[in-house]
Subunit: 128 residues, 2 copies
Amino acid sequence: MKAIVDEQIPNREKCLSNVNAIRDALFVLNGKWKLPLIFTLLERSQRFNEIQQSVQGITPKILSKELKDLEENGFVKRCVYPTTPVTVIYEITPYSDTLKSVLHELYLWGTQHRDMIRESMRKKKDVS
Amino acid sequence: MKAIVDEQIPNREKCLSNVNAIRDALFVLNGKWKLPLIFTLLERSQRFNEIQQSVQGITPKILSKELKDLEENGFVKRCVYPTTPVTVIYEITPYSDTLKSVLHELYLWGTQHRDMIRESMRKKKDVS
DNA sequence: GATAGCACTATCCTTTGGGAAAGTAGTATC
DNA sequence: GATACTACTTTCCCAAAGGATAGTGCTATC
């Protein structure tokens, strides 16, 4: 029993580090607003109030927090111009391009999965 | 102004469907326990109490719920054997293989991102 | 008859994510 | 002096996720 437990440790540690890396990736894309914000800023750089109008439903508090998160993760740059009143422009950084393949894979899998689920629900209906 | 808003609609709709597909994918992998459960069941099929010991910290209530989620999404099969007492074995399905490339991309990006963040924190320290 | 193991379920509680509404500091315009 | 605009912050609130603990129905073993 003890032997089995001990044997599992190397595997478990390797798995844990895999899980943690994957979780890191999931974490930065997580929540209701990260993706809509990235997509809207990919279209064009925008000011705070412009973003609020583009991404409908988001409140200033959440927008402020999410932009900070995106900035900390290097996806967004906050540019302040000393006009009166100050202009703050948020723009997507080149680093965001590194997300491309991840997002593409997620998109492909998500689309396929949605079809699969729809299909399996149809079959259930046919049976009942 | 109205014209601009109208022009954005096709783009926005396309983006929304992309976002939704990606969100579907993120959703099924989300939460604290989905990945650890998938990884532990990839090693070997296990009974309820075995899983509870493999994935340390999970409570029976959460385990029960998560296994149901994974089953609904087609990742896990619940096999009941009419022994006394009943044996319930949870095993990974072949459908889980479709996750491979997504998980791999997430792993690669997560690892690279962690290094990037660590590096940028080191730089900040050097400056201050 | 008591205890233990299996596969859960039920109840209660805390934490976290996110939302509504109002407020703030600075400037500009009427 | 009042109103408005920009870029937020503050306070309070609610719902969902998740955790702690106890219990259930069944059988097997001492």
